[in-house]
């Protein structure tokens, strides 16, 4: 924050200088400038310099030269600046060359120079110092400005950990929406020598409907990217929002937005899916708009189960519910039978909107209606649903020992790093 203010201040100062600058341009070239102007240092700069100098001092030799000052230690202004309009000098790296033309020499007016010279003679040293000081400050300010303007904006967003299992990501991570439709070619064979027969077979055999929890303000920011990427591997995808959006398209659930509405949204979304799309899929996956799902791996997991059994899968957490419940962050998937029972339970009042903590409340309901909490670990005992971004899981010791996560896991952690991953949550 402090840095931003600092930068803004510099920016303001510099822009002020640029606006006011032209009116303060020297009406006469100070004579001491010539020797202190650094050289460009490479051939291109020199070439450019030679060209401009000749252009800006066309009448150099014919112009009357200013009288040498008494003492003659300083070289006269005009002569110095137009020196290179005479015979070209061999450029050498050690000798600084003036590039006065760069800062507006054409404004030079030889007629008034002599009077000004006398006036300023006594103050010249002070002037010289303030000038040097000024050019140093100008350089620094300008380089700061340019580094702000041209520098690559690294927006590495810190992933702040809140030690609260039901904390949600913030919705305002300042991502700018990108224009246009995107196509990640998820279904086009990008690898010429890739064999996807098994994946295509499973796509037909294990039908998954995905519904993505989002909001009107997130459609362009997040849901759009979901739609362009992993959602293409779903057999059917629905975006659930509080308001309908026919263009995206997103289903309007007629709820309010906000965290305390999450469970209502989930209930209504499953009811909507049950009403309209029950026969279109075998499995019904709920994911957030910042979750990444690798559906081919999810199909591999689900292919071993019958969708007519009451079962659901996700990242299994231990507390509060006897059979555990599935973390909302990593997403969860209900079998067809589980979906039927869940929707029915709200008709018969077996389950109610008991709490606004969506994942926990759903887990409680599932236990009441005898839907089994499935084991989603892979054959080596590693978890396949992940509630955090990859690096939090991959780097040992990243999540502190006191973090709630370690007490919530239903299964003891396996030491070796993960192999199959289905879901990642809290993506930027």
């Amino acid at each position: 924050m402090g840095l931003a203010i600092h930068r803004a201040a510099i920016l303001l100062t510099c822009s002020l200088l640029l606006v006011v600058g032209p009116s303060l341009l020297p009406s006469r070239a100070p004579p001491f400038l010539a020797p202190c102007l650094p050289s460009g240092g490479d051939s291109e700069a020199r070439a450019a310099h030679g060209w401009t100098t000749q252009r800006s001092c066309p009448a150099g030799p014919s112009r009357p030269r200013a009288d040498p000052r008494p003492g003659g230690t300083r070289s006269p202004g005009v002569g110095t600046f137009c020196r290179s309009s005479g015979p070209p000098r061999r450029p050498s790296a050690s000798e600084p060359e003036p590039s006065a033309s760069a800062w507006g020499l054409p404004r030079f007016s030889p007629g008034s120079s002599e009077i000004h010279f006398r006036e300023m003679a006594s103050k010249s040293w002070l002037n010289f110092l303030t000038f040097l000081c000024g050019s140093a400050i100008g350089f620094v300010l300008c380089s700061q400005l340019l580094s702000i303007l041209l520098g690559e904006q690294k927006d590495i967003q810190p992933n702040i950990l809140h030690n609260d299992p039901h904390a949600r990501h913030s919705d305002d991570n300042g991502q700018s929406p990108l224009e246009g439709q995107m196509n990640f070619d998820a279904d086009v064979s990008q690898h010429k020598d890739e064999n996807t027969d098994i994946a295509e077979y499973l796509y037909q055999k294990v039908k998954i409907l995905c519904w993505v929890m989002t909001g009107p303000q997130n459609l362009e920011k997040k849901a759009k990217h979901v739609k362009a990427t992993w959602a293409q591997r779903c057999n059917k995808v629905l975006f659930m929002s509080s308001e309908e959006n026919k263009d995206f398209p997103a289903v309007g659930l007629k709820t309010r937005e906000g965290r305390d509405q999450l469970y209502w949204k989930t209930i209504k979304a499953f009811q909507y899916v049950h009403e309209h799309y029950l026969e279109d899929a075998d499995w019904f996956m709920k994911a957030d708009d910042d979750t990444y799902v690798i559906l081919d791996n999810l199909r591999w997991l689900l292919s071993k189960y019958n969708p007519e059994e009451p079962i659901y899968f996700g990242r299994r957490f231990k507390p509060y519910v006897k059979q555990g419940y599935m973390s909302g962050g990593a997403g969860y998937v209900l079998s067809k039978e589980a979906l039927k029972r869940f929707v029915n339970a709200f008709k018969t009042d077996e389950c109610t909107h008991s709490s606004s903590i969506e994942d926990l409340a759903l887990g409680r309901c599932m236990e009441i209606i005898n839907v089994e909490a499935g084991d989603s670990r892979d054959t080596t005992g590693k978890e396949t649903f992940h509630p955090f971004v990859p690096e939090h899981h991959l780097i040992k010791g990243y999540l502190p020992k006191t973090f709630w996560y370690w007490n919530y896991n239903y299964y003891p952690p396996v030491e070796v790093s993960l192999e199959f991953l289905l879901l990642y949550k809290y993506l930027d």
């Binding site: 460009g40 010289f128 995107m182 070619d185 020598d193 890739e194 994946a199 991959l394 993960l418």
Partner: protein, 318 residues
Amino acid sequence: MLSESSSFLKGVMLGSIFCALITMLGHIKIGHGNRMHDHEHHHLQAPNKEDILKISEDERMELSKSFQVYCIILVKPKDVSLWAAVKETWTKHCDKAEFFSSENVKVFESINMETNDMWLMMRKAYKYAFDKYRDQYNWFFLARPTTFAIIENLKYFLLKKDPSQPFYLGHTVKSGDLEYVSVEGGIVLSIESMKRLNSLLSVPEKCPEQGGMIWKISEDKQLAVCLKYAGVFAENAEDSEGKDVFNTKSVGLFIKEAMTNQPNQVVEGCCSDMAVTFNGLTPNQMHVMMYGVYRLRAFGHIFNDALVFLPPNGSDND
């Protein structure tokens, strides 16, 4: 008083303009060099897959074993977290990887170069590597700790190239007349180039320790200048579709650019399937890349790889 303040302002103006000029010149040059399909570049293409599939199985095994890549990573103490990540991740796939640091660092094993100057560090590292390992390795790969490299793809790229020829390749950038391989994308030298470079390192006229009188020339440019004297020229490495395989940016940045510039083919328009390097990664991203490149697979997608390079022994995140 008035005249002082006005000369101060003049100074400020001059300073600003001068700085703006330098920056402008610098950007013109860089902008010119970065153009992807600059046809003044020397191109070097990856081998054709069909050709490689023609080679017999035994021959292919033999070939993959004959490639020995030695990795040089130039580090400074401030890079320690990147250093740790690099050590844990991709460098395990080099046949040998050594870290060359500007000063003695206690936490990790490294070869102390005793200088802070990147060019001197690079020279010394090349000299050390050549003197010690010229008979054991035929390819030398130099990188910074912000780089992530996929050594298997490097070996695939080099497959049909003869290390006894002077190769100097990576991501080339043009600066004036000089074409050089950017250190950000990693620099690959064949043993022949190493031989020529080392014979030049002792000739100060051709390969000075202090190049550039006023402006410091970056170490990758200096290397190009020296190699030029030995008749070794930079070549840009590309895949069969003409995409760069050595990259000076990270995948995330490429995707972001592709989303704005070519929204219709984000992944295809972004990067090569056989990319060797990416640059500008954070330590966390190194681990994520390692997972994405070597472990994470989508079930039911089978790749018929032309070549198999075995992972290093005892690696648990290969």
